[in-house]
């Protein structure tokens, strides 16, 4: 592949997107201004839990510039529904999960700091904000609960009446009896108890939206920073506002990063869409960062106890995992599925563990809703598996690579005991490559040299797997998904042979405009420059599911491939007519339709022209035009996997950990654009290292106040917090999509946290350290060393 077209598959053309982004010509939601627009500001709860006795908006309504003020009562009167959850989880007793109402503006009670209480719409943003301060809310402050580990204990305040013990569901997965039996005969059991730290996604572009109502068309247009505009529209119209779907256009223009946090339907854009008709003016809302901290869905926040049973040779016999997952105050769009479907199904990792059982308790707390954040369930699963494996190796005196090799899955397809079937992989290949690149052989010398400088070096491994390319819709549906998981692609060939591709996937940094164009250029044999990719507008693209779960290329790319197949099939018929040959004799090669075995051919562009100027055309048999659409529903997940090796140096005096070497060898299947793939890995690694070393959303467990509510207290990875990375790829092509691709967007964030933590523990093992909580801040590392010494 790739040899026929300069910027085809496997090449690294520089990105089409970059010209506009580098010159300030990007078009993000907040860059857009509409004639006559007003500005919205949301009054938010300062309390984690409080009853609203009364809201008085009189003074605010009279403030300068105010166009409208709305509260939960106004929405209730207008019969606006609650924000829906997109995945039904059924508990161990066959009961559906508890689904408390999630009103876009609070009705009678607020349930987390930042919960929306009212919206003020004014001529200027300053005026909206000034007026909001004049709204008098009479709160009766109630006891709050914020700690996932203790929220279900008797006597804790209930976030919702329908879940008096704060339990949304207790969900089980796997063969419990087989696991319990395997544990009784185990030679060794390794146990791990830990928190997977709560994170805040922090895309650098804050959420933003502009809603507009057209009286002439009786229709709405919503610009919103979002990863999946059709899903946004479907949820908003069908479940909340009761609007006809065809009367709402959702546009997600340039979006400044998502990482999951812009998948979801949020209250703010829903409210302003509704209010745009009420005030008959466009309404713009841009989240301030301080608001983002308390309104963007957070990630992770598990309390887990996990056990691994091994035989005397270090072969895994069984794994048992109990997790309490914080869901926050409400069920966010996919909040219920992340710690269940996307978590427990990954607990086999790369290993042939015969029996696995996981039980997950979904817990309500008075905190911001928790949902997908880069990796979504899979980093949490990988942390469980890889920390158990590393700890078991240390306890049993087995080399870290060796224990993994002994347990790797080696034959494919492989059906795991947690419901997935891995189609292909080569785990030894990535591990061997990582060991070589990381110069593991030279590690003892480096460790000794560091010791002379008073620093402690350690090395940590992580062999992760993820399930991407979500997914077969029927499988997801059986598991409780309330949406399909296909993707759409339309290939519009223009009369002159250039092509516009309309994809249901959405790029918010991934570079679809480049990668997808490479695929199309390669397959149609036309110049890369002649292909444009359009995404993010329900008014232009066919119904698509958007971008999350590293699915764009595997699912969206395949949909485009299917559309191309249709284009080529029709092109063959046109070419057969032009070449006076039989359809079945036409082959398509390097941009030309040829009569097989002859030198008779016609170029793709000529066929396109004939399709639109059908003077010499089989009009009796064939419609004119060359414009094909395909929808693709995958037959399986894809399974990217890889091996990461992290080397750290710890200053035992201060607790400072420096990542001095980081190697990732990944198998993403075939690769379209290596440059972009490497960039995706780099970004994921920084987020994973951020989770391991720096980032944590901290709540006061008594009051439910968010203590890390700004960049002064929430540590974002900066350039000097991370090293340059060494990345490598090994290839086993995915067996069930035509591109053979698996997805690469989340791997870095999934694989890295356990590698970093295990490296720190390795560095400190001689001091007696066996566990290290995340994030391993200098303070925490120092504390852990003190405790180990005590």
């Amino acid at each position: 592949m790739g040899e026929n077209i300069p910027n085809g598959i496997g090449a690294s053309p520089r990105r089409k997107e970059d010209q506009r982004f580098l010159t300030g010509a990007g078009n993000y939601t907040d860059d857009i201004n509409l004639q006559g627009q007003t500005y919205a500001y949301f009054l938010r709860s300062p309390h984690a839990s409080a009853a609203i006795k009364k809201i008085d908006t009189k003074a605010a309504a009279a403030a300068p510039g105010v166009v409208g003020i709305f509260t939960g009562a106004d929405l209730a009167e207008a019969k606006v529904g609650g924000l829906p959850c997109g995945w039904l989880i059924t508990d161990v007793n066959g009961q559906p999960m508890k689904e408390p109402p999630h009103p876009p503006l609070a009705q009678g009670k607020v349930n987390h700091v930042g919960d929306q209480v009212a919206v003020v719409i004014a001529e200027t943003y300053f005026q909206a904000k000034d007026a909001a301060e004049l709204i008098e809310v009479d709160y009766e402050v109630l006891d709050a609960v914020a700690d996932v580990a203790t929220a279900t204990q008797p006597g804790k305040p209930a976030v919702h009446d329908i879940a008096p013990d704060n339990v949304c569901y207790v969900w089980g997965h796997g063969d419990k009896a087989a696991v319990d039996k395997a544990f009784t005969g185990a030679a060794h059991v390794t146990t791990l108890e830990f928190r997977n730290n709560r994170l805040i996604p922090n895309a650098i572009e804050p959420r933003a939206a502009i809603a507009q109502y057209s009286r002439s068309e009786d229709s709405y247009t919503l610009h919103v920073a979002n990863q999946n505009p059709h899903v946004e529209r479907l949820l908003m119209t069908a479940f909340v506002l009761g609007l006809p779907e065809h009367k709402v256009r959702v546009i997600a223009p340039d979006v400044g990063g998502g990482f999951g946090s812009k998948i979801f339907l949020y209250a703010e854009e829903t409210v302003i869409t509704w209010a745009a008709k009420r005030v008959n003016r466009p309404i713009k809302w841009t989240c301030e960062r301080s608001e983002s901290f308390m309104s963007d869905a957070h990630g992770r926040d598990h309390a887990t106890k996990a056990e691994l049973a091994l035989d005397k040779d270090g072969k895994f016999l069984a794994m048992r995992v109990h997790t309490k997952a914080n869901l926050g105050a409400y069920l966010s769009t996919f909040g219920s599925s992340v710690p269940t479907i996307l978590y427990a199904t990954l607990l086999a990792g790369q290993y042939a563990t015969p029996a696995i059982y996981a039980e997950v308790t979904g817990v309500f707390t008075n905190t911001v809703p928790v949902d997908a954040y880069r990796g979504a369930g899979r980093p949490e699963a990988t942390f469980v598996v890889e920390r158990l494996v590393s700890k078991a190796a240390l306890e049993m005196g087995i080399d870290q690579a060796e224990i993994r090799r002994r347990n790797f899955i080696k034959t494919f397809p492989y059906a795991t005991p947690v419901g997935l079937t891995y189609d292909t992989g080569n785990y030894e290949a990535t591990l061997a490559a990582a060991i070589k690149i990381a110069d593991v052989a030279g590690f003892p010398a480096r460790r000794d040299e560091a010791k002379k400088r008073g620093k402690l070096r350690g090395i940590g491994y992580s062999c992760y797997i993820e399930a991407c390319g979500l997914a077969p819709s029927n499988v997801a549906g059986a598991l409780g998904a309330r949406a399909g998981l296909f993707e759409s692609g339309e290939v519009r060939v223009h009369p002159t042979g250039s092509v516009t591709v309309f994809t249901g996937s959405h790029s918010h940094g991934q570079g679809h405009e480049t990668t997808f164009a490479q695929v199309v250029a390669e397959r149609l044999g036309i110049p890369f420059e002649n292909v444009d990719v359009v995404h993010g507008d329900t008014g232009r693209i066919p119904f698509g599911m958007g971008t999350y779960g590293s699915r764009s290329l595997a699912v969206g790319g395949t949909a485009i491939m299917k559309a191309i197949d249709k284009v080529v099939a029709k092109g063959k018929k046109i070419a057969a007519h032009l070449l006076e040959a039989s359809d079945s004799d036409i082959v398509f090669e390097n941009g030309n339709f040829k009569v097989a075995g002859t030198d008779k051919q016609v170029a793709f562009g000529q066929v396109a022209f004939a399709a639109y100027v059908p003077h010499n055309y089989p009009l009796d048999k064939l419609e004119p035009g060359l414009n094909e659409t395909a929808f693709y529903d995958p037959t399986n997940f894809t399974y990217p996997a890889g091996s990461h090796i992290c080397e750290v140096e710890v200053d035992p005096e201060t607790g400072v950990t420096k990542v001095v070497n980081y190697v990732a060898s990944d198998d993403f299947g075939n690769i379209i654009n290596p440059m972009i793939v490497e960039g995706q890995v780099h970004g994921g690694l920084a987020q994973g290292i951020g989770q391991a070393l720096l980032e944590q959303a901290v709540y006061d467990y008594e009051t439910g106040q968010l203590l890390s509510g700004s960049y002064s207290d929430y540590t974002m990875p900066r350039a000097d917090d991370v090293p340059s990375f060494k990345v490598d790829t090994q290839v086993t092509p995915c067996t069930h999509n035509p591109l053979g691709v698996k997805g690469c967007g989340e791997a870095g964030a999934i694989g890295s946290p356990p590698a970093v933590i295990s490296a720190i523990i390795d560095a400190l093992k001689d001091l007696g350290v066996r566990e290290m909580a995340m994030p391993a801040t200098p303070y925490r590392v120092w504390q852990t060393i003190q405790s180990a010494r005590a």
Partner: protein, 155 residues
């Protein structure tokens, strides 16, 4: 009470009357429609709003427009040559894939150019330290560092 503001933006004289509480970034975006300068936080930390004020990288979200009285301001829109050719730093970011979503990019590029002005041949460590006022959530900084190195090497 609105106040008179006069300064230069991207080489052009600008005169305006502004509400004193208008931040420089708000003035650039809302009054001059120079939307390449972005706002990523409200505590002066993320650096997405970085511009050049009298040749130095500053955060335009953390100063009043009136504080730029008489100053020369350059935004990302003013960095490329009048011909439209990208500044070498912009070109290096493209060549090295030093951007993904593009949101932090204008600020990052403005900081990076200021960095090289101060230290034309920085080490990797100096580059990383020198970008301490800019967050990027996409790239892991790897290719940003490479872009700055490439730009420095190409001088």
């Amino acid at each position: 009470m609105n106040m008179k503001l006069s300064f230069k933006v991207n080489g052009k004289a600008v005169e305006a009357e502004v509400d004193p509480r208008t931040l420089l970034v708000q003035f650039l975006r809302d009054h001059l429609h120079l939307t390449g300068t972005h706002v990523g936080c409200d505590t002066g930390q993320c650096g997405a709003c970085t511009i050049h004020l009298n040749g130095r990288a500053v955060k335009s979200c953390n100063m009043l427009a009136l504080q730029a009285q008489g100053a020369e301001v350059t935004t990302i829109e003013g960095l490329a040559a009048p011909s439209g050719d990208m500044h070498p730093m912009q070109a290096a970011f493209k060549e090295c894939h030093g951007l993904q979503c593009g949101f932090c990019t204008p600020g990052m590029v403005m900081s990076a150019t200021a960095l090289l002005k101060e230290n034309p041949h920085p080490s990797e460590e100096q580059i990383r330290a020198g970008l301490d006022g800019n967050f990027c959530r996409c790239t892991g900084y790897h290719n940003i560092v490479k872009a700055v190195q490439t730009c420095a090497g190409g001088r």
